[in-house]
Symmetry: C2
Subunit: 470 residues, 2 copies
């Protein structure tokens, strides 16, 4: 009886591509930008949209938790003699600026060839919707799913999932599961699926330099005071070496894990060549930390990035201003076993040490995420490799992610495996995904490769089948 259930679900999925795509487009039309307070209403609309959809396919009790700054959606179907899987995705999206760089409006999804263009198409509404489509494919063709299921959809992933962290802690018992499956990442190309067994952490901060009491005319006062922008660029330049690209904050590398030969070999199997890097970035030349291969630099090594500098005059034309204040938005990616709290203290202490007495400096920490590395040999992870092969026709490679998913660390720490009194807090996490490196997530003209959407739905259908057979 088991085979027919799987076959029926796969057939349903294949016969409803157009419907799934149309519903995904409706979801993408909602500008659920979590970083911008003015989009709070849209976030709620995006949550309600998926609540409605889950109810419609057979989840009778769907909770939209709005008790915190950002909404969380949760539902479950339990009661089977089967293992329990927790599925995770997110429905919030990144801001769209610079808007003028979009060749199609970001919230008017459009299909061109094999691609669907819209903010959130790949990160992560498209991937989250693949989960929902997989569930629908089972529930419209069979009475039950092959597993006990918990579904958790995050409305705050792009800004650190604080609301979900609280939700997790409040409902730790209820959310316990035998494994967690997350679909929120890229494959290397449509023929190279990726199993991610770690993610970098991150620390985001704003470095603010205050000088004169008000903006000054550089003709009248130029030479009298230190310009906060001049000081700020000097401070920032002292955070990274221009040759080695090493971060210059004292003690920054103290706890960075050294890669074993085995792990280097495993990671080295992924076809992440310099040519691939140049292709996907379009940069004149690759950069990054000296002494490491590209795939190590983007996943196992920490970084330092300046994301934007506020202050002075940035409009068209020119203005001879010495600004009263200048602020840099920066972040570092962190790797095992760096601790964002410790790094935050080190950055703050270093900046205060090197700042001149002609200005006041202030370091404001705006985000912290701890790095994660999980056991890639665990059974739930190995089943994902089988599901990928069935869904896409290709074996996956094993990688560690360069981005940060604070919620992964949090779930590992907070949730437990039911009936497991021995290894509490060691819940296996499986990270898969159907994006592509040229999807331009977080950038203008984001897109999602539609064959990956459809193969992704089938991969999840297979995973549920395999996981249920455990």
């Amino acid at each position: 009886m088991k085979m027919p259930v799987l076959e029926k679900a796969l057939t349903y999925a294949r016969e409803h591509h157009e419907m799934f795509l149309s519903q995904l487009q409706d979801w993408l039309r909602i500008p659920s930008i979590s970083t911008l307070p003015e989009h709070r209403g849209d976030l709620l609309r995006a949550a309600k949209f998926v609540e409605e959809k889950l109810r419609e396919i057979g989840f009778s009790d769907v909770e939209v938790d709005t008790s915190r700054s950002h909404p969380t959606v949760y539902t479950e179907r339990l009661g089977l003699e089967a293992p329990t899987l927790l599925l995770y995705g997110h429905f919030d999206v990144q801001p769209v600026d610079p808007l003028e760089a979009w060749t199609r409006p970001p919230f008017e999804p459009v299909i061109e060839g094999d691609n669907l263009y819209a903010r959130g198409a790949s990160d992560d509404k498209g991937q989250a919707f693949a989960i929902i489509a997989a569930l629908e494919s089972y529930l419209k063709t069979s009475v039950e799913l092959p597993v006990n299921l918990k579904v958790l959809l995050d409305g705050e992933e792009e800004v650190g999932s604080k609301s979900l962290h609280a939700f997790l802690r409040e409902h730790a018992e209820k959310l316990s599961a035998d494994a967690i499956l997350i679909a929120d990442q890229d494959m290397l190309d449509p023929k190279v699926p990726v199993i991610m067994y770690g993610v970098r952490g991150s620390l985001s901060a704003e470095i603010e330099v205050t000088g004169p009491a008000h903006d000054l005319h550089s003709g009248i006062f130029g030479g009298a005071v230190d310009n906060p922008l001049n000081v700020l660029v000097r401070l920032l330049a002292q955070l990274q070496d221009g040759e080695t690209r090493k971060v210059l904050i004292p003690g920054f590398y103290d706890k960075v894990e050294t890669l074993s030969h085995e792990e280097r070999a495993l990671l080295g199997q992924a076809p992440v060549t310099d040519a691939v890097g140049l292709h996907f970035t379009g940069a004149p030349a690759l950069g990054g930390e000296q002494g490491y291969k590209l795939y190590e630099r983007i996943s196992t090594r920490p970084t330092f990035e300046v994301h934007g500098i506020v202050g002075g005059f940035t409009g068209q034309g020119k203005k001879s201003v010495i600004p009263a204040k200048a602020t840099a938005k920066i972040s570092t990616r962190l790797v095992p076993n760096q601790d964002p709290n410790e790094i935050a203290e080190r950055i703050e202490a270093y900046i205060k040490e090197i700042a001149p007495p002609t200005v006041r400096v202030n370091v404001r920490i705006t985000g912290r995420a701890r790095p994660v590395k999980v056991d890639h040999t665990s059974r739930p992870v190995q089943l994902a490799a089988q599901a990928y092969e069935k869904g896409f026709g290709y074996k996956p490679v094993y990688m560690r992610g360069g981005g940060s998913l604070p919620i992964v660390r949090e779930m590992i720490d907070v949730l437990s495996v039911p009936r497991d009194n021995v290894s509490r807090n060691k819940i296996p996490v499986v990270m898969i995904g159907f994006g592509l490196p040229d999807d331009r997530t977080h950038a203008p003209n984001e897109k999602f490769h539609l064959p990956n959407f459809y193969n992704g739905i089938e991969t999840i259908i297979h995973y549920l089948d395999l996981f249920g057979g455990a």
Copy 2:
């Protein structure tokens, strides 16, 4: 007969403070921002406003030249057996951002106590209007002015007076005069008028760093490429030494004139103490080039300033972006005998030399002004000292200006003294002004000290009288 003319003019000026102030406010309501193309119509309105005013007080033939990017206003009254004076002021103003820092709307002039608050109140509509009020005071009380007069009002001073440069070259013969009087600067305080016998030059540029072909997610690509913002802050940090604050561009100081002991002594008479500098800037401590006194650093020494950095994410919240491009708006102030064209070449060569091969760099020169130093012992300059003493009741100090007035250099080069076939191109330039150091020109909450407005009108009335008596 001469004394009564002067007395009548002074009396008229004193009796019409309110009217002059009200008319100035009308002029200030026009947002004639010359840096922003969307304000072209306002610039023309400001020109028409003053055209009307000049006609009304007795200049029958007023020309508003609109044949170039920015308007120029010119009029004259000649035919007397007297020397000829050319008066200069400007009616364009700086942009107003950050708008939220204004406690009163910038184009709704308001009087509080002794101050008139508005963009352009001090720089330069208020000072230009003092000239017009002085002319009115003569023409409404006598048949003629004490001198042959030419009046030139610039609509492009804040962006380099390119249109006026062309106007000057086209009408060099017509504009010839025995001296030029410019009112566009600050006094040190209401009791310390200033005669400016030089101005710094300047060079403005945009340094653009281009990296990846499009914005990238710092999680996915962080470590793979050099972030254009990271590279840009390193380039900028290499343009100025953080300790000595010396500009690090090779050859930058090669042609800088060394101050004589005499000139240091003359400049040292101005009460520009560190306490004064701290008071007017509100900075935690003064900065600037090591080894020089404050009054030297702000007038006789070159500087380097970053005015703004464009690129990445500068909105509220945060965004993990590696921008495709980052651009810095910078300028340097130049002193005799630095040549902006040579400095432009040096900056460009240096930037290209120190830029890494992981990015493309482009240096776009956006403004050039040559420095000026004039003979402060010339008769027209010495008469200004007498006029100040009569208008304000205090002797002036002699200083060199920190800002740039490209038009001064241009007038010296292009215009000539009529009937002077010997020393062509040595037209004496007299620089006076009625602003104050805390007027916040180019910054939010610009204001003009009204007693200076009224004493300024009288100073110009006296200057015309003294100059005519030559």
